[in-house]
């Protein structure tokens, strides 16, 4: 339940603060969002598999986000839509992790 509450609190904070961000940065924001979502689903999956590690979890968030931001930046400088690479990588992992979480949900042997 806590993750859901955290998500709602985050949305409320974001709407209330209404942080002004230049439109050109919205690409970075989108990538950061995707990286965070990937980490959260990944963390959920790890916790279901009983191998959740806080250090791995948090370092994963930061390294993923920073690398993604770097790729977007490079893409902007080189004139290539390099951020698509990050989007695809995170997207694929997101769906894989989501599928695994779904599998855990239906495999009764884990909790019986």
């Amino acid at each position: 339940m806590l993750p859901l509450i955290g998500l709602i609190i985050g949305i409320v904070i974001g709407l209330v603060l209404n942080i002004p961000i230049p439109a050109t940065w919205s690409k970075y924001l989108g990538i950061a969002l995707l990286a965070a979502l990937d980490s959260a689903i990944g963390g959920l999956r790890a916790s279901l598999e009983m191998k959740f590690n806080e250090k791995l979890f948090f370092t994963g968030i930061f390294s993923n986000t920073l690398l993604a931001a770097l790729i977007v930046f490079m893409g902007d400088r080189l004139g290539i839509d390099l951020y698509l690479a990050a989007v695809v990588a995170f997207g694929v992992r997101l769906f894989q992790n989501l599928a695994l979480v779904r599998r855990h949900y239906f495999q009764k042997r884990h909790w019986e």
Binding site: G10, L17, A23, A36
Partner: protein, 234 residues
């Protein structure tokens, strides 16, 4: 329903720390989501939602606006140029006019005149000079380029009357008596020469008995305006 309860049970079995960690990241996701939502909504929605024909319409509108502004710029530039030219012209006119005005004021005797010139003292012990002789001396001074002339302290201008009534001479209605002291502002050398030239006014008048000329060149003479200047100038 049983599934969900068991699933949550499984999640909870991982301990609070895991829950808090994932919740923290979920909160981050929430903040990012809300912010991104706001940015997309405010910044680029108008243009992104517009159709291609709308966009081309917008572009052509902006282009025509640019052209209008360019035309306005050149118009204003032309206007500025014209105004600058006329102001330049009128400044020159004002300068020229004030120069003329000063000259005219000097000629009309409205202003005090100071500068180098000559002082001419004419003695007349036997009253043998008449008004015409004085007019002659003043005329010679004027021919010599005198800017301003006075006789016994009375400024002599174009319409100053010098008249003879009996034995008395009146300058501008004021009686004057010898010795006559004339002041003239101008080039001292030229004024001196105008008076002392051979066969000139000094030679002519000095032949009369009791008449003698004392001419001195002065570096700094002051001639006051005509007595009525205060009234006229106002």
């Amino acid at each position: 329903m049983n599934h969900i309860q068991n699933f949550i049970k499984l999640l909870n079995s991982q301990g609070k720390r895991t829950q808090v960690a994932i919740a923290a990241v979920c909160m981050l996701i929430g903040i990012l989501l809300a912010t991104q939502f706001r940015v997309q909504q405010t910044a680029s929605q108008a243009l992104q939602d517009a159709s291609e024909s709308d966009l081309s319409q917008i572009v052509s509108n902006l282009n025509s606006e640019i052209n209008n502004l360019r035309a306005e710029t050149s118009d204003l530039r032309l206007q500025l140029f014209k105004i600058q030219r006329t102001s330049h012209d009128s400044a020159a006119v004002i300068k020229e006019s004030s120069k003329n005005l000063n000259n005219l004021k000097i000629i009309a005797g409205l202003t005090k005149v100071a500068g180098p010139g000559v002082r001419v003292v004419v003695t007349d012990e036997n009253k043998s000079l008449n008004s015409n002789d004085l007019v002659g001396i003043i005329t010679e001074l004027r021919v010599g380029g005198a800017e301003a002339v006075s006789i016994n302290g009375i400024r002599v201008i174009a319409n100053t009357g010098i008249m003879q009534r009996g034995s008395a001479i009146f300058v501008d209605g004021t009686p004057v008596s010898p010795p006559y002291e004339l002041l003239a502002v101008g080039d001292p050398e030229v004024l001196h020469e105008a008076l002392v030239i051979t066969g000139g006014i000094r030679d002519n008048l000095s032949s009369l008995s009791g008449v003698s000329f004392y001419i001195t060149k002065e570096n700094n003479l002051r001639i006051d305006p005509v007595a009525s200047a205060g009234k006229n100038a106002g």
